[in-house]
């Protein structure tokens, strides 16, 4: 039996009921959200369940939504079932003041660096990660640059001191 978005949804609702919400299918990719303290349970279930078999962590990253109070940062998992060739997207949201999310590095070896990268840019504290230190940025950096409060320089700004750039 081919696995479809519908059967995945049924399976997950049977197990977790109302804990998983915000079901969507943007561009055909099944997307759902859950509370952040359930993330590891759901990932483990997706991994172990003989029907679902989502054993390949394609991608892990974060998104910052400053206007969503209390759930500013989303951690997004892209999972792939290679047997039935179907992908899903799973999100958990966390408060920016206490960005603690359970680490999936023990479940997926590939999650190790992806979580370090996510920590590096968004400051998410992955609980249980074996070595949560910066990976791409310099170690002594004291902020998380991908958060929206750090804008790139405005292209049209006029207050620049041209002398500093070799132009008079």
């Amino acid at each position: 039996m081919a696995l479809t978005n519908e059967t995945i949804r049924q399976h997950l609702t049977e197990k977790f009921g109302e804990e998983i919400y915000d079901w969507e299918e943007p561009y055909g990719l099944l997307t759902f959200t859950s509370n952040k303290d359930l993330n590891l349970k759901i990932l483990q279930f997706l991994f172990d369940d003989p029907t679902l078999q989502f054993r390949f962590l394609t991608d892990l990253c974060a998104v910052h939504y400053p206007e969503k109070k209390g759930k500013e940062i989303a951690v997004v998992y892209h999972l792939h079932n290679l047997v039935n060739n179907i992908r899903i997207r799973f999100k958990v949201f966390t408060d920016i003041n206490q960005p603690d999310v359970f680490s999936a590095a023990a479940l997926y070896a590939s999650g190790n660096w992806m979580e370090r990268e996510t920590y590096d840019f968004y400051g998410i504290n992955f609980i249980g990660h074996p070595n949560l230190v910066r990976i791409l940025n310099a170690d002594e950096m004291d902020y998380f640059p991908m958060r929206k409060e750090y804008p790139l320089e405005e292209q049209t700004r006029v207050d620049k001191d041209d002398e500093m750039f070799g132009r008079d």
Binding site: Y27, T58, V76, Y108, S110, N137, Y150, L152
Partner: protein, 409 residues
């Protein structure tokens, strides 16, 4: 002489410990890129290896949040710069999926030609570097001529060679010239002979086999857990290929095989890449044949009709109001894209290259994340090299096809 003072400050316990710490990189000639490995050695055996990445991080994801779509293409060039056209096309395909643009078949086939050429040039570098690291320089020098020819084909199409910025959203910036097709024909004709010679040089070469068989092996299960994709995963025996599993650019119209290995060691990775070059050549031939079947007006098609994203002809800009408006809006980055969220993967030369794009309906992406295959599978390096010889660790590194530009984004 007990009063001799020791002026060199050694780290604590460094004299008592039985192992040697060796710093490979960040600019070691054998790392082929800017990454560092701190290797702990017992004699010549690797006890552990700790990788450091990030020396050339350029904040592409942050920059992309401030740029209109077409200005992000040059950023993708600089990910895996050995096969930039695949990154460019992958990005365009991602945008087209977001915009729900359907590209004409001819564009798809032309793209396949370019992408497969890029795959060949990437595999060529990787495999010949594996040769260099095992002491065989000839292959590397000899096959470079054909990478040069591939670069000349790019040059005919887009004007540049390494960081190509090739194509546009919807297709190509111009139709392929006859010169480009002539060079392609030359490539199709001469390349098989050279590839065969390259294979003769290595495949059953006793020295090469001794240096690569059982070096840096990985099981299919571990490879999947480590997020391996592309030739490295296929060498471990998993036939996962984005071109088959999530076809894009009309790959479903073509018949090709996905070569797989069994042990996932350096030798299997080498053979898988070689076989993939043959498959790529077949794809190029088939795609070229299909391109030639377009006659008359159909043979002039080289882009889809997406006026909001595809720069109009210069002569139209000067004579037509609509074209002028679109030209201005595109160049100034004033096109609002539809809101949406999309993950679009393509089969890059070293694995699944994914673009995760979130748009909130603005002029630049709200968030763009690149799934860079070699960033993910480089984590396994420590496990792959443990217990092996130092020289094996070097070969393993080059056979993984690690590209610093892609890793650090």
């Amino acid at each position: 002489m007990s009063d001799t003072k020791q002026h060199i400050k050694l780290p604590e316990h460094s004299l008592e410990k039985k192992t040697t710490t060796l710093n490979l990189g960040p600019t070691h000639p054998s790392t082929h890129g800017v990454f560092q490995n701190v290797v702990e050695l017992d004699g010549e055996r690797v006890v552990s290896a700790e990788q450091t990445v990030g020396y050339i991080h350029r904040a592409f994801e942050k920059i992309a949040e401030h740029r209109p779509l077409y200005q992000i293409t040059p950023l993708t060039d600089r990910l895996n710069y050995c096969s930039s056209p695949i990154n460019n096309m992958g990005w365009h395909i991602c945008c087209e999926r977001l915009l729900k643009v359907k590209t004409p078949k001819r564009v798809d086939y032309l793209r396949i030609i370019i992408m497969e050429l890029a795959r060949i040039s990437d595999h060529l570098i990787c495999n010949s570097i594996v040769g260099v690291d095992s002491g065989a320089y000839t292959g590397f020098l000899y096959v470079m001529q054909y990478r040069e020819l591939i670069y000349e084909i790019y040059e005919e199409i887009c004007g540049s060679r390494l960081t190509t910025n090739i194509g546009r959203i919807g297709g190509f910036e111009r139709n392929f010239t006859n010169e480009a097709f002539a060079k392609l024909e030359k490539f199709i004709k001469e390349w098989p002979v050279v590839l065969e010679e390259f294979e003769n040089l290595f495949n059953r070469n006793r020295i090469f086999m001794d240096r690569t068989i059982d070096v840096g092996p990985i099981s299919a299960e571990r490879a999947l857990n480590y997020g391996f994709t592309g030739p490295n995963l296929r060498a471990a025996g998993v036939d996962y290929d984005v071109r088959i599993h999530n076809p894009y650019s009309s790959y479903e119209d073509f018949d090709f095989t996905v070569p797989v290995g069994t042990t996932g060691d350096c030798y299997d990775r080498f053979l898988v890449r070689n076989q993939e070059m043959w498959q790529s050549l077949k794809l190029i031939k088939d795609a070229y044949q299909k391109v030639q079947e377009f006659k008359g007006k159909d043979a002039e098609v080289f882009h889809a009709d997406v006026p909001e994203y595809y720069l109009p002809d210069k002569k139209d800009v000067y004579t037509k109001m609509e074209a002028l408006i679109y030209h201005f809006k595109i160049v100034m980055g004033e096109i609002e894209m539809p809101a949406g969220e999309i993950y679009s993967p393509v089969e890059g030369a070293n694995g699944e290259l994914g673009f995760y794009l979130i748009s909130d309906g603005g002029r630049a992406p709200y968030r763009l994340h690149f799934r860079r295959p070699c960033f993910i599978y480089y984590q396994a390096y420590s496990e792959l090299t443990k217990g092996g010889m130092l020289s094996d660790a070097i070969i393993t590194m080059s056979s993984l096809n690690l590209i610093a530009g892609e890793m650090d984004a």
